[in-house]
Symmetry: C2
Subunit: 351 residues, 2 copies
């Protein structure tokens, strides 16, 4: 390249000091500086101190990039998520960040902004800068995922069932979760249900629907309607009218975001919850407990998902065997947004 033709050992004013400059200043070789910096082997105390002094004088910090190239590892993991606006993924991010930090790893975030097409390239690009990948791609077709995974290994996939794919995965048992919610609502006497569905290609949405189908099959007396809604808070807000025009006494929102949006709109419309309709969410985001009424939901260990993801990656990075796929079974959180079925259905009949 031959960029700087001046003496490379000149302690540039603004340019960060290099190991060579420290070596010159301390009157030793670069190798020795490197040893001191890494607390390696036995360097004569006198020399070591001389090096440390030079380091202080020059304000030297080793170049991470150069180390990465030499060591062949970056000490960085990437997290690819479909939407950073979702509190669920924010918690996963926190979990990964905190757990990785303990092992001296940093986290690079990549938000695909729900753009399924870009997700593949984003993951590959992110993986190139890092030693490993945490991939959250609920909408990516399984075929594409299959092609992608070997390219970005080591990677752990979060939040979707990989089925036969032999890759490390941490998933939520959404089917079981939604069945748990249904069981709760059934026990309260509800028979007419409305499911506010999430994005249709979403794997977890499919799982929820399958769960509901099973319940429907085994409970002849009930009806479960489905309306495609979305995954965002605004979607829930906008769904209030659909909810009211439907005769259901219990609404299962795709997630807490949708549920909170719905709750907000219902409050504005002065529709009593759970007096008129019961509402459930999914995920148990931080706000669920503080919503009014507090939201009955399925608790998903969001931060734990992130922490476990890092734990598995760490294992892989150390040359360990891929873990088995792990399923988290959500836990029912009964709060105040669900209650007994009202005496009569429809706009204020009984009472």
């Amino acid at each position: 390249m031959t960029r700087d033709t001046s003496a490379p050992t000149t302690p540039g004013a603004s340019t960060p000091a290099t190991i060579a400059q420290v070596a010159t200043a301390a009157g030793v070789s670069r190798a020795t500086v490197s040893r001191v910096m890494n607390g390696r082997a036995t360097v004569a105390p006198v020399i070591a101190e001389r090096v440390r002094q030079a380091v202080r004088d020059l304000d030297y910090t080793p170049s991470t990039v150069a180390r990465s190239l030499s060591l062949g590892r970056t000490n960085t993991v990437a997290l690819v998520v479909p939407d950073l606006a979702n509190p669920m993924f924010q918690q996963v991010l926190r979990g990964v960040t905190q757990a990785a930090a303990v092992d001296g790893y940093r986290v690079l975030v990549a938000d695909s902004a729900e753009n399924v097409d870009e997700e593949r390239l984003l993951a590959i690009e992110a993986r190139m800068r890092c030693d490993a990948l945490v991939l959250c791609a609920p909408r990516m077709p399984i075929a594409q995922l299959t092609e992608l995974l070997p390219r970005v290994s080591p990677t752990v996939v979060i939040n979707r069932d990989l089925g036969a794919l032999a890759a490390p995965a941490l998933s939520i048992d959404y089917a079981s979760g939604i069945k748990g919610l249904m069981a709760h609502l059934l026990s309260l006497g509800h028979t007419r249900f409305l499911f506010l569905g999430g994005p249709e290609q979403s794997a977890s949405n499919q799982e929820r629907i399958e769960g509901l189908s099973e319940i429907a099959a085994s409970h002849p007396g009930i009806t479960i309607d489905t309306v495609t809604c979305g995954a965002a808070i605004e979607d829930g807000y906008a769904a209030a009218e659909a909810v009211l025009s439907n005769g259901a006494t219990a609404v299962l929102a795709f997630n807490d975001l949708v549920a909170v949006g719905l709750l907000g709109r219902l409050a504005e419309l002065e529709v009593p919850v759970p007096g008129r309709v019961s509402v459930t969410g999914f995920d148990d985001i931080q706000f669920a407990r503080f919503a009014t009424p507090s939201l009955t939901t399925m608790s998903v260990p969001q931060m734990e998902l992130g922490r476990q993801a890092w734990a598995q990656l760490r294992e892989l990075l150390e040359g360990g065997q891929p873990e088995h796929a792990v399923f988290f079974r959500p836990r029912l959180e009964v709060r105040s947004s669900t209650g007994p079925v009202p005496d009569a259905v429809g706009p204020v009949l009984g009472a």
Copy 2:
């Protein structure tokens, strides 16, 4: 180092292909491969195609680390925040991530977990892996900040007034914001106020207090009590009793998180809002609008803060002059959690 003594041009099975392997495969020099990869200059079409074929065959992707070392830039920015759990910072993260992505930059996150002591080292460490830094350090003493900033330049500081410090900064005018809230509450007839204060060392908390002092000084007839509370939703929840035992008819929470927590608890206690007390927040996080009652708050352009931060950094990275410090003036969002002062103060007297 001399790690791999075997022929370096062997297309290793699992190891990622290098530029040298591509060069060999295509029968050209590495320089030519580099030119093709970067769409450089005029490479003979025939040769270029041969290179591209080799790239495809070998599944070659250039090493980002090696490029970074050679180019002297990583195409990465770091964001240092005190607490990723706060929706405010999550939005800033989104803003930075989205804006930086447009220019081909990725974002590294570092969460200091409210640990003020570690923040300095964290920032330095993060900066080393990146080309620039977005720093959110509301509690860092100004002296330490002064020492730190030159070391991590280029950096833009977010969310605090740097005063005389000549560094790029994006701040919120918290004093003006809280005064706006007070003006609103005063217009509703309130005279007894309670401020639920945030972390005491927090710069923005100080600014809020100064704003309140000014109002107090210019309005002899009113009283403004202060209770140190915190910045988290749980803190607001826990503050409900203190709020009720205080005679105030209007409560100004440190931020929306605190306000939502308070609202949640007040609802549980069946305390009418704003019937008994009015409540305000600060930040206008996503959930503020959907709280029950919807929260009157000061809107802070959170994502915009992130976007602008990137815009300024980009300018600096391109060799531009540091921008002047920018202040965002929050905008009052009147919603349903504030209302006229109740007829009588205390546990249900009038009515």
